[in-house]
Subunit: 428 residues, 2 copies
């Protein structure tokens, strides 16, 4: 830690100076060092949860902490907390961070930016010699991107905020039939040892920086997004079963074409989910036809529905219509609708977004309020403490994609806002 | 060959006796032996064109020919002709057969029944000691079912009837980017050697027996279908390109959802191709979405259209509308329509269907006239000689499916009609 200690009532000048200590070259170098772990040929990152690359990213993070003299603790799910102490050691910490794992062939910014911003904030505060009442911590949450393999994401933050879920989480299996328990044990074997932290250890305030993963900030030319909420999220699998048959010989009246029925259901659902205010997010992302051959009438067609909305009522009302619409539009086919996920919305209100706003205004960045369409670890940590999120723009809203990109200007701006927010919160 | 030789003017009695020589137990045993090659757990057959199983079915066929003392020849595309000589060796042969390959997870009857019926007819004629003027041959055409992998079917019969197509056919690539040339070379390596036959060697008459692959014979309780025509057939690939994006963050107004556009195009095409008289055959059999992930807006969606009609005018008029409808309904996406196939209808008229009718009447089977919705090798061989087809019923019209089924009674009836037809034609 730096030798200079300022009064805990850091005034506006010292905060301004601290923002100046956010070092964009250091931030970028660390960004590059992280991006090299699991780097793909197309400029993305393939660093799956629990993988060797995941472990490697954690070793790098801990080596930075160690070089800086920051302490570190880890809980039994591998969530790592790097700590800069406060002047009042018994107070609960202010925590900031995100995840270091990625989607399959994902990008270099999703998740890891929030970790780098938090660590850079810790260093800038330290470089500025600012003392805070509360400790400030930078966290890596384990397996945020687990949904691609395990069908469920944010495993680490869910376990931390609500350890009663653990037995269930541990048994979830990935697409190679390996349970979370085993994948986690393998990660732990390869993991550097640090002090132990109990699940649900209190957190005073939580702030997560993240790329937007959507197009709004770029489209409206804003540097900072103050996140108002994380949408609720329901997802469904719709399995339509018809009868395969010869495309040349089977007359229309005798067909049970599963793709025709799937299309009819999709088309009706589009009408039900049409929203002139453009708040509803309704996506059919997967469609699998069997046997998927040109001259064969589809015998089955299975598709997924991803539906998100910030309001619990709309989430329930519209989501519950899916099975009804599917049944009413399946024609001569059978249809089965299963719900894969039902996560309620979380609003970010009060002190954390208010403090972010104050930081943005003091630093004079352009900003807007917006909800997050994606889920984040903040969704679960918000169940245990006041929380909020800072978004920065990303190129064309592209994310979960190797082409994901953000500018160093925006990354630095987000880190400055974060550092200032953390100091303010740590002095409350 | 049998030792007894009858006069070439086989009378009605000898023909009736010959029909009695069609041996249903032998036919069924050979059916089972063939069905064991590439057998699937669900009772179907997976014997893809050019595969090891394809080669194995040919070895079995040639072993039967060899055991019986029939000669065999093969052309450079692997089409195999097993021959029972006629009394006048310089005359062109009467040829009958079909294919031994199958669709992916196809049935035990499609194609192979025509091969087995032709071979059984040769044996029955031989067992009855009937001499014919012309040679009679049983043929396996190569790669009839190639459309599932290569997008084009009936490769062997196309090559035989029109070898000028060969350079183009050889370059067609399958879904693993392997050209026909290479797949054929691999089949040939594994193939038993027989005498060489030149492409386009003349055929006097061609008769193909096949399961109907449609529901009409069963629905009308007829044993034999005399095929009047093979429908014209156009097929298309529609490639819709949008932009992948995060399902939770991208508002509707900024989306370029390729699956939504594909669905819209499909839906409009269904209206254009709606036909109260139920003659039009319009099928979307393949749909491939990229990246096909639940939380990602589809960046591309590619689907195929299989369109068949017995009338050339309808085929042109409606087929030509596809690209227009696709462009008009692609919304914010780009769309590219490529035509994969344009085969004009072929009518079966004159001596071959007339001889089939005579055989059916003499054997006193119930029958009806009907067009074929499916393409068959007979479609191409009809370009070089008079041709016709005999259909037998199949269960519920199900085909290109592991559940495909036909009764031994109908298989035997079709073989008796075929044997009698072949003898009559071989004495013309």
């Amino acid at each position: 830690m730096g030798e200079l200690r300022m009064s805990r009532n850091a005034n506006s000048n010292s905060l301004q100076m601290m923002a100046g200590h956010v070092d964009q070259d250091r931030l970028w170098q660390r960004h590059l060092d992280m991006a090299s772990i699991g780097a793909t040929a197309l400029g993305g990152v393939h660093r799956l949860p629990f993988s060797k690359e995941d472990a490697e990213s954690r070793r790098l993070f801990l080596s930075w902490a160690s070089a800086r003299g920051f302490g570190a603790e880890m809980d039994d799910f591998g969530n790592i907390f790097v700590r800069r102490d406060g002047t009042e050691r018994t107070l609960d910490p202010v925590v900031s961070g995100s995840h270091s794992d990625t989607q399959p062939n994902g990008g270099r910014f999703d998740g890891i930016y929030g970790v780098l911003a938090a660590f850079e904030a810790l260093e800038a505060i330290d470089d500025a010699g600012i003392a805070t009442r509360r400790p400030i911590e930078a966290v890596i949450w384990t397996a945020e991107e687990a949904d691609a393999q395990f069908g469920v994401g944010c495993l680490g933050s869910q376990a931390y905020a609500n350890p009663s879920k653990l037995p269930k989480l541990m048994e979830i299996r990935n697409n190679r039939n390996i349970p979370v328990k085993q994948a986690l044990a393998e990660l732990m074997e390869d993991h550097p040892r640090v002090g132990h932290r109990a699940f649900k250890s209190p957190i005073a305030y939580y702030v997560e920086a993240h790329i937007e993963q959507g197009p709004e900030l770029e489209a409206r030319d804003k540097t900072i997004g103050i996140v108002t909420a994380i949408q609720g999220h329901r997802s469904f699998k719709v399995q339509v079963t018809g009868e395969a048959g010869h495309a040349g010989n089977t007359p229309e009246r005798l067909r049970k074409d599963a793709l025709v029925a799937a299309m009819q259901i999709f088309s009706e659902l589009r009408k039900v989910f049409h929203d002139p205010s453009d708040v509803i997010r309704f996506t059919v992302g997967e469609m699998d036809v069997v046997p998927n051959a040109m001259a064969v009438i589809p015998g089955s067609a299975t598709f997924t529905i991803d539906f998100r909305h910030p309001e619990p009522e709309a989430l329930k009302l519209l989501g519950d219509k899916i099975a009804v619409v599917a049944r009413d539009n399946a024609g001569p086919c059978d249809v089965k609708v299963s719900e894969l996920r039902n996560t309620s919305p979380v609003a970010f209100k009060g002190i954390v977004p208010e403090t972010i706003l104050k930081a943005v205004e003091n630093l004079d960045y352009s900003y807007m309020y917006l909800p997050s369409g994606a889920g984040h670890d903040a969704r679960y940590i918000a169940e245990m403490c006041p929380a909020g999120m800072i978004f920065i723009p990303c190129w064309h809203g592209v994310s979960h994609n190797e082409a994901e990109s953000a500018t160093l200007y925006d990354m630095t701006a987000g880190t400055r806002v974060l550092a200032r927010t953390l100091v303010e919160l740590a002095n409350l």
